[in-house]
């Protein structure tokens, strides 16, 4: 952006009274919320001092901590890639996506990926990228960039969001009810989660001691990005590393208190490894490797075969939102979707199977949620699956 363009944008933004009211309202409430959770000034100063000391220690031994992080992540089964420039980082991400023949990507909010202009890069290479953080989702629909690092759509009020949804989401009615707007986003995003071959997220803290990636969020969509697609790519800046797991509580307290005025976010994800393979896999596990997911959630299922086929056709042209929101193809008959499953002699774990795989989708059968969760989920969203969703934090994907 040149100086003239910047000045022009400034002029337009300053003349937009609605925009300025939205910002003033949103920032005012954030400041009040922050003050409420940091009401004890002396304690806050101590906490900030503690946070500063932890970060300074990290900076003083950054190279060795990064190597320790790499070693522990690698031991946990996480592959670590290094990039010196945004171009290299973008290329690495694309290579991983292509290696897994994925063409649809879901993203949790990641500011470093914004700085890398990752979305534009991937879309140029025929990969469909869907932002799943509600704020990012809204501005992506409208072709904008985030106006705030933690509240990307802070400049929009609900009337403007209602208009964007009505215009950009096919079939979405105009509604200013927040719950209904959430439901529209939820219904759209659920299909994207199911179809995605790769999930991309940022990293709030990376713990060198344990090789753990920590992600905070309030919607559950971040967790969906890191758990539903078969491949998870976490993009982080070097400064996100911390020494020890014990460093997290003060840093999290400072982060969430300062960012959103919360004592803790609704979701705190600590990711220490990919899904672990069964030590003594049963025949069902053996027949169906964990990376080929096939959830048969009625009405939303997309087998990897189906998504990659559609993906290839999408590769030739820039994906548009209307492509995403096309009605999903009717679920294929299970037999044709995964012939391997038919040959599997049994869908129940064999003796000696660790049992963990029952929750890890490798049996190619819908995991049965506990009745209470299923009922609550169906009632609230009209969606038959389980898993976290926007503003409905009680349903964790591993809750029952």
């Amino acid at each position: 952006m040149g100086p003239e363009e910047f000045d022009r944008n400034v002029e337009l933004a300053l003349a937009d009274a609605q925009l300025r009211r939205n910002f003033a309202f949103a920032m005012g409430s954030f400041i009040a919320r922050r003050q409420a959770v940091f009401s004890d000034a002396a304690q806050t100063e101590r906490l900030r001092g503690q946070g500063q000391a932890l970060k300074r220690r990290v900076l003083s031994r950054l190279p060795e901590l990064l190597e320790e992080l790499e070693a522990n992540c690698t031991r946990n089964g996480i592959q670590v890639h290094w990039a010196e420039t945004p171009a290299v980082a973008n290329r690495l991400v694309l290579d991983i996506i292509e290696r897994h023949a994925a063409t649809r990507v879901v993203k949790g909010k990641s500011m470093v990926s914004e700085e890398m202009h990752l979305n534009a890069f991937l879309e140029k290479h025929g990969v469909e990228v869907v932002e799943t953080d509600l704020g990012e989702f809204i501005i992506q629909l409208n072709g904008e960039t985030p106006s705030h690092i933690i509240v990307p759509a802070i400049h929009k009020n609900k009337q403007q969001i209602a208009r964007i949804f009505h215009e950009k989401v096919p079939g979405a009615p105009y509604t200013e009810e927040v719950e209904e707007l959430n439901a529209i986003a939820r219904a759209t995003l659920r299909r994207k989660f199911a179809e995605a071959g790769v999930g991309i997220s940022g990293v709030n803290f990376a713990v060198a001691e344990t090789g753990t990636l920590c992600l905070v969020e309030n919607e559950g969509n971040g967790r969906m990005c890191t758990t539903l697609p078969p491949v998870h790519i976490a993009v982080m800046g070097l400064e996100k590393v911390v020494e020890k797991l014990a460093d997290l509580p003060p840093l999290l307290r400072l982060l969430t208190g300062s960012a959103t005025g919360q004592f803790i976010t609704t979701y705190v994800n600590l990711i220490s490894s990919p899904r672990r393979a069964c030590a003594r896999p049963c025949s069902a596990c053996a027949a169906a490797p964990a990376s080929t997911t096939a959830r048969s959630t009625p009405g939303s299922a997309a087998t990897p075969t189906a998504s990659s086929t559609r993906g290839r056709s999408a590769r030739s042209s820039t994906p548009r939102f209307s492509d995403w929101t096309r009605p999903a193809p009717s679920p294929r008959p299970r037999a044709s979707a995964a012939p391997a499953r038919r040959s599997a002699p049994s869908r129940s774990p064999s003796p000696g199977c660790c049992g963990a795989c029952a929750t890890r989708r490798c049996h190619r059968r819908p995991r049965a949620p506990c009745p209470a969760t299923a009922a609550a989920a169906a009632e609230r969203s009209g969606w038959p699956g389980q898993g976290g969703g926007i503003s409905t934090p009680t349903r964790g994907s591993t809750a029952c």
Partner: protein, 265 residues
């Protein structure tokens, strides 16, 4: 300089009682005070002297170097800063600065600016001596103020550097609160910048103008007759916007305000 008669009796005993009271102190005048608010500087010096502490004003001092430093010209900033290091005798006496912004530059950025330079040690000693005026008055001298003015409602503007870099707002407001007939009404959005930001106001006049409009609205909403601040950059910006809108609100530097209230003039 004339010393108020009423205070002279108490000033000297208190000086003896307080072993922390320095003798003398140096005063750094700042560009904006010299150019636009000389009375603020005079008041700041008089108030220190009234406590029985001699003030020395080294000739040859000029700018702290912040405009060049913030604009990305460290070499030019260093040249200006070096002049200040030379202008002040290299001793133990505090260097009192009636501005959170200039004090922040000299206290927190000089050591980094001179890192690896021949003057590094000198810059570090210099930085260690810098103290913002209201902190010096409240914390080092422990002044007790006697309000001689008529009842007045004022509001306080915290400059970003005084608040975030120097952390002296409690001292500044504490001085105002000592004035028994002054009612201090806080701004609703005190932590927001007034839009001056040094060279920012020149580089981005439209954004700066929007910020100061918000700030003046906030000041106006308090119903205060005066806005008091510890930084003349903010004051220049805010009083300019107030005058432009023709509002009956006066802006004043804290030192000038306190001198006016306690001197009885």
């Amino acid at each position: 300089m004339r010393r108020p008669r009423g205070r002279q009796r108490t000033a000297f005993p208190r000086k003896d009682q307080n072993p922390l009271k320095p003798n003398p102190v140096y005063f750094f005048g700042t560009c904006l005070i010299e150019s636009f608010f000389p009375r603020a500087g005079e008041a700041a010096i008089r108030l220190i002297e009234r406590e029985g502490v001699p003030v020395r004003f080294p000739a040859g001092q000029s700018c702290c170097g912040q405009p060049a430093y913030n604009s990305g010209y460290p070499d030019d900033a260093r040249a200006v800063a070096r002049q200040q290091l030379r202008a002040f005798p290299d001793d133990e006496a505090p260097i009192v600065v009636p501005s959170g912004s200039c004090a922040g530059m000299m206290k927190h950025h000089y050591p980094g600016l001179f890192a690896g330079e021949p003057d590094q040690a000198l810059a570090e000693r210099f930085a260690g001596r810098v103290v913002e005026w209201s902190e010096f008055m409240a914390a080092r001298l422990g002044v007790e103020l006697e309000d001689r003015g008529a009842p007045l409602k004022v509001t306080w503007h915290s400059s970003c550097h005084a608040m975030r870099e120097m952390n002296v707002i409690a001292h500044s407001k504490g001085l105002i609160r000592q004035l028994s007939r002054v009612e201090l009404v806080e701004l609703a959005r005190e932590r927001e910048c007034c839009g001056f930001g040094g060279t920012f106001a020149v580089k981005h006049p439209a954004i700066s103008g929007a910020l100061v409009t918000d700030k003046v609205d906030d000041i106006r909403a308090t119903g205060a007759e005066r806005v008091i601040a510890g930084d003349c950059g903010c004051l220049l910006n805010i009083t300019g916007a107030i005058a432009h809108r023709g509002l009956p609100i006066r802006g004043q530097h804290l030192a000038e305000f306190i001198w006016e209230r306690t001197h009885g003039s």
